[in-house]
Symmetry: C2
Subunit: 464 residues, 2 copies
């Protein structure tokens, strides 16, 4: 069974000890200490170190035993030979949560040291993330144990996407990328050698968290398959779980074994297990975030019938191809829907799905088409392609789309390919709650995940 | 047979007539005229219009017959009913090339008008791009018949990638996107109803053009399959041809028929034909440019054995999976290569392919690894993953990579995922001639195209 004991202390500690806090600029203990004291972290932070009397003007303590209170979280960033001593102290005084940043355990063959660490926490309520990890990032509470300085790795704003990964490098690259692209994240964990807190614990915990709307996972392999299946199946009924599993190929599995010691197992087995547990599987980091982002539309399509509206016929054809790849169907529009559009559009527009408003489309055509298809009972979702290069397409179309999206319980997913002008319109649409993609293929892939996730939930008897 | 007569006049005219040039701001005839007179276009430009005596201070002429010289190119942007009269005049006086922007032909059922246009040019040497198109964009010569204003559609700088597409909206979106992303393009054509100049003509022409290093194509269907095959097979021996063919699915094919009247035919037939002709098939606009860009590395890998070097083990696993998808193999490193690295690296680095320099990698480790694998006869190409979030990785690694790339005839393809700092390093690498991708999957996909293209050329007996 997944174990939730004290997991919340990793994300919402009222007090934190940084063991190994340092005044040496750029050092691991310096970067982590600064992450807490130079941000809006609201709890108390204590430096614990043998080397200094004060760290950045905070009184330092020689040991966690000397602290004026029992801290909720200890972050341990000291040389490997000293880690187990400190961990023993933490367990003794009852620190609920420890992040062990330090490497130098089983990943370099120091199995004895790691076994000792395991035995220290065994039977206690002290939970451990790590060792050999970058740890925890929570923008809401400002817990940030990542030792990479801001100038190398941007920190994304708060948002609904959480991420769990064994690999620290993956977490660092994704946080950095998300910060550049304005994608909000909440509760990001890399647990390295994962001697205690594992995928299952975090999936269970994150599924119950009201700030987390989607759980994304990078994994190379699993040791406790049954526990993972149970946790994921339970979580999926509440929160979508999107998994990027690598080590698919034979050579990839061998590389994974050498990287994280993961026994990859047959890829077909993972595939079946993910499907059975209601998880959504993706095949690249780009797809991981494309799919994660779509759940921000917060709508549950009732089926897989999609209406495509476009001002570029070619993009309509591409999107139609992608529907088939994503196991979605072109919605068979009601005759009344088609006639209503036919009456209002020039004769060269196509009112058959995919609806082609053509290269002289204006905002009114989009307004009419959205009105009609959203009211059509044969339509479960709309893929709205807007190529803003078309000069007749006035900026007011953005407002039309946002208000249709607000009034309808059917998802409207936007595809817009282009440059500077397009980017500005996309930003406005996103501020209005729309989810946007740069190509038809990526938009449809995400929409497919949304539709099939809700179909799974309906099948399991839960409301969308 | 593809016909090359006068195709060069579309791209390198010494004189141009803009029929329908206008003073009305934002109108089609105004935007196009400005494209020529307000840029570095070096030839003479004449406005031809019945409505004005001067257009933007240039003396206007009533007819192409009245011009002081025979122009190389006429761009026709007047109402549809007047087009054929003007075209007759162009043929009579012997204008070599005409771009007919005007729509209102077969695409709206005006088949008679289009047949008349065809009959007017039949037997003449006057070549026509269009009607119903956005025409030609050539940044080098500043021919730009695209009627979308700069504020809606950015214009990319000059570069080695050419693009041919029936769809104008696709061309507009791609030019706009390329301009935002700093991707250089040369000789871009959208030919709309393509009554004359077609895919085959342009492929043959572009393959012989020294400024064009890769031909990209968007198509929904073909009418003259045999001619296309001949042109593409001949072109592929000199210049890579990358094709994004939509209308793959049954519903997509039906949508394509309604969009451009393309008879899509069986997708398997297209697939086999492209392969036989040496063309590279892709499945999205993103992939089209990912693959096109790789040919900028200007190296011909001798085989498909790839060495992966990474500082993030996870990315190494992802790349290894992607190799299998792309029909590439992990290079079996020579024992001497591995021992040389083993001597110089800490014991926790993995010197087996994928080579993992780990999260405390520095520039020297990259330097050593590149030196060793590039000298290994078992390696045909290098996929170099650099996660710049790692603070130990100094900026000087950029210089190391550039100098290895310059000295070796094996391609080094870079993968870097991240934010602001990463983007700056990627820009430096690109300025140094490296081709970079944001994910392992996209990098490997492009590398696969490079390797298999050169394998095709070797098979056909041409040198790489």
């Amino acid at each position: 069974m997944a174990r939730l004991t004290n997991i919340d202390s990793f994300f919402s500690p009222r007090s934190v000890a940084i063991v190994g806090a340092s005044n040496k600029k750029g050092s691991i203990g310096n970067v982590i200490f600064k992450n807490f004291v130079e941000t809006a972290f609201e709890g108390t932070v204590y430096p614990v170190t043998l080397s200094y009397d004060t760290v950045l003007d905070h009184t330092a303590y020689k040991s966690v035993r000397d602290l004026p209170e029992l801290v909720d979280l200890a972050v341990i960033a000291i040389p490997a030979p000293a880690v187990n001593t400190v961990m023993r102290e933490c367990v003794d005084i009852g620190v609920p949560a420890c992040v062990v940043i330090t490497g130098g355990f089983s990943e370099i063959g120091e199995n004895e040291r790691e076994e000792e660490l395991k035995s220290i926490i065994r039977g206690s309520d002290t939970r451990v993330i790590g060792p050999n990890c970058v740890g925890v990032y929570d923008r809401r509470t400002r817990v940030d144990t990542i030792f990479l300085p801001e100038e190398r790795m941007g920190r994304p704003n708060n948002g609904p996407i959480s991420l769990v990964s064994q690999s620290g490098a993956f977490v660092a690259a994704m946080l950095d990328w998300a910060s550049l692209n304005g994608i909000g994240m909440d509760k990001v964990v890399s647990f390295g050698n994962k001697i205690d807190v594992n995928y299952s614990d975090l999936i269970m915990f994150l599924a119950e968290d009201e700030n987390v709307e989607v759980i994304t996972i990078y994994m190379e392999g699993l040791s406790k398959g049954k526990m993972f299946m149970e946790a994921t199946a339970a979580a999926s009924l509440k929160t979508p779980v999107v998994i990027f599993k690598s080590g698919r190929s034979k050579a990839g599995a061998a590389a994974a074994a050498s990287h994280t010691g993961s026994l990859a197992g047959s890829d077909a087995i993972y595939d079946a297990a993910f499907r059975q547990a209601g998880a959504i599987r993706v095949y690249s980091s780009e797809e991981l975030f494309d799919v994660a982002r779509i759940f921000q539309c917060k709508k549950a399509p009732a089926g897989t019938r999609v209406a495509i509206i476009t001002d570029g016929g070619g993009s309509g054809v591409m999107a139609t191809d992608a529907l088939e790849d994503g196991d979605l169907t072109l919605a068979p529009l009601d005759e009344a829907t088609k006639s209503a559009m036919e009456e209002k559009f020039p004769p060269y527009c196509s009112v058959k799905n995919p609806i082609d408003l053509t290269g002289d489309a204006d905002a009114t055509r989009y307004d009419v088409a959205l009105e009609e298809v959203l009211n059509d009972d044969n339509v479960d979702a709309v893929l709205l392609i807007m190529l803003f290069q078309v000069p007749t397409l006035g900026d007011e179309v953005v407002g039309h789309v946002i208000s249709h999206s607000r009034r309808s319980d059917k998802p409207i997913i936007v595809v817009s390919s282009g440059g500077k002008y397009t980017k500005e319109r996309v930003r406005e649409l996103e501020e209005g709650g729309l989810v946007c993609y740069p190509t038809p293929e990526r938009g449809v892939r995400a929409l497919s995940a949304l539709c099939h996730y809700h179909a799974y939930r309906r099948k399991k008897g839960k409301k969308g």
